[in-house]
Symmetry: C2
Subunit: 415 residues, 2 copies
């Protein structure tokens, strides 16, 4: 990658919400921009659980980066896995060679954390990328197929017991959607399976779900989950899982052939190789300008960055990354101009979680609401954020179809 004499190179690592936003906002800035990602697509993670529960196709939430950024003259995309950063030499070591930078923006996101529980890591499913989501779909559908051929009632129940661990938004959304997939769709497909044989459990270690939400919405969400036949278990910390039995902290054992792990997230493990200070969940400690303390030419944003506001770490969610991207772009321009840098201040837009058909909980500023209206809001907001009109149209059709016909089109086992 030759460097033009006049223009410096900004290398952005990660084409998630943060990195993509940085790349786009640098469109008219006097920089050469190189966007590096190990995947050739931007993934709309908030709908990943819908891929896992056979509601939509992977390609409907995965949009090619080159399509998104087509026509941006100062940008080059590079498909590569970043293996390390040499801060002194200002270069990245990647799977396809070295990449030099003048400024670096790390927007590398987060990965599933199993808190060192190797058995759990081996036997449960994460829900962070398309491969994992497709694996859940294939596995869940296969359990129904195998159960329908299984004469032993104990084994049938084990195959038809689906445990989701972690009562955050991902766990709640996955549990609601999985319960509806089982009850509204699969029981019709499998007349030989009785509703009394199917269990969907949501295991939460603390005493409430949706920790980031206000108390009243947490109570409502729990109530809605119950109504949708999700067995909600509080104080249920998973200690072990061998693929057949879940062991909880109190010694309770639950036979289940499926466990989805949505209980822990940490910064992408690449950050551990950087030799920089890390905060909770391995996140890289940054200044309020989003720079690394010792490397003012390096910015870290999104899930991978650790910054506190009012004594609390910023949540790992898209709005933080997107807002930080704006500040990074301003600061890159200001650094070049020798101006003082902007400080990041998070404007919380609220929180939203859906719990299957017709139900969601939402907090917008001081407003709390739930039920059908919150659900329509959720639909609308997520549809509008999807990249590309075609994806919006396809997802809308899929949602409308599922809604009116109690169907899930993508219930195919691919391997």
């Amino acid at each position: 990658m030759e460097k033009q004499q006049a223009q410096k190179t900004v290398v952005v690592v990660g084409a998630g919400f943060g990195g993509l936003q940085v790349a786009r906002r640098l469109r008219n800035a006097p920089f050469k921009v190189v966007l590096v990602d190990r995947r050739n697509y931007h993934l709309f993670q908030p709908l990943l659980y819908q891929v896992a529960t056979a509601g939509i196709s992977p390609s409907e939430i995965a949009h090619p980066v080159r399509a998104i950024l087509r026509g941006q003259k100062n940008l080059a995309f590079r498909l590569a896995e970043v293996q390390g950063v040499d801060f002194a030499a200002r270069q990245l070591r990647t799977s396809t060679g070295l990449v030099e930078y003048d400024y670096l923006v790390l927007a590398i996101g987060s990965q599933t954390s199993y808190f060192g529980m190797q058995n759990v890591a081996r036997h449960s499913f994460g829900l962070k990328d398309i491969t994992e989501a497709s694996a859940i779909r294939n596995h869940v559908l296969r359990q129904f197929e195998l159960a329908s051929q299984e004469p032993d009632p104990v084994m049938r129940r084990a195959r038809l017991t689906f445990a989701i661990v972690g009562g955050g938004p991902t766990g709640v959304e996955a549990a609601g959607a999985l319960s509806e997939l089982a009850r509204l769709v699969l029981l019709k497909d499998f007349p030989s399976i009785s509703p009394t044989e199917v269990r969907v459990l949501l295991l939460e270690a603390s005493s409430s779900i949706l920790g980031g939400f206000p108390e009243d919405l947490r109570v409502v969400a729990a109530e809605i989950l119950w109504r949708k036949h999700v067995e909600l278990r509080f104080g249920a910390a998973v200690q072990d899982y061998d693929g057949e039995q879940i062991t909880l902290n109190g010694g309770e054992v639950i036979p289940a052939r499926t466990m989805i792990w949505a209980a822990g997230v940490r910064a992408e493990s690449l950050v551990d190789t950087l030799g920089v200070s890390q905060g909770k969940q391995g996140r890289v400690i940054v200044q309020t300008t989003l720079q690394l303390p010792d490397h003012p030419e390096v910015f870290v944003i999104g899930d991978a960055a650790y910054l506190e506001e009012d004594g609390e770490p910023l949540p790992m969610m898209a709005p933080v990354a997107v807002q930080q991207a704006k500040v990074v772009v301003q600061n890159l321009i200001r650094l070049e101009a020798g101006q003082p840098l902007c400080l990041f201040d998070f404007q919380d837009p609220g929180s939203l979680a859906t719990i299957g058909r017709n139900a969601a909980v939402a907090r917008l500023g001081k407003l709390h609401f739930h039920g059908f209206l919150a659900w329509v809001l959720w639909l609308f907001i997520h549809l509008m954020q999807l990249v590309g009109f075609r994806n919006r149209l396809l997802v809308l059709i899929n949602w409308a179809w599922d809604y009116f016909f109690y169907d899930r089109a993508v219930r195919i086992i691919e391997k």
Copy 2:
């Protein structure tokens, strides 16, 4: 699977065009029907090349068998791989145990044949199922990504050379679609790649493509492929491929990192274990009643069955399987009633092949036509045959989008 005293069990193996048709037509027949397939979906194979060339999503041509047959009271679906048939005991050995039958219909289809060339089998891509089609898509897109980062011009060309082997309908359709994907879509995505660096080759061992079509359409098809920048090579029989170089029979060597093998098909290898007489391409020789000569309770249809008409083996295509399914169902009912059986007589509906946007060749009875009209006919026929209104709608939207915007939405590399 308990047998009712009054009703005999028909086991149908394979949920392709033939098997699905048999299962459906037995809806009101006095049989218990068990449909066995190793996949939980019916695959619309004629559009598989569109998955391989990033035009549509796998789930748009894969429809869950249970959804198709929902509500058919006398039918049970069983997800299992058939490993062998015990004709004497009238039972199937499967990956999930034994399945007993009174009547058996084998509609197990065909698989790629590499004519014993192990190197070719190892390094090239078949195009018979969703896994293979997705693998081609991922691989082709990755070659463009790697070429764009590659400084060595010789290596760039090798990565940007795509060879399709075999000039039958699959090869012709794949070559046309791949050339358009490269020229109309990917060259826009990769401004650093020049059109002069990209080659799409169609290697045909004989002196004409589309062997089953009339002479005039074969000439037209070749002309259209040329216009679409497909390098059409006649008398080019592949002798070896190591993943980097293709060796042709004359000693010519073509550096290419991609080879798609559409030159050979044979009956599914399960037929080799049956101990029955096989004709060309390993197909099982059946009587005109579609029964096995020595086992009147066993029927074989579709690609897996060998039957001649006017001295020629019936082609391996969906219309044969669908028409045979009708005869099998009639004969099952007649066997039970002690009536004389029907004989199969193929009614050729014609042939259709598409060669990218706006172009196709079609033979309908004595009519031959080509160009835009043939292409619209092709679109219409394929759309109407897709299972499920939703799939038709989604595929139509994708096609319309690609058509108007010269785009391909599904160009994501999944692994």
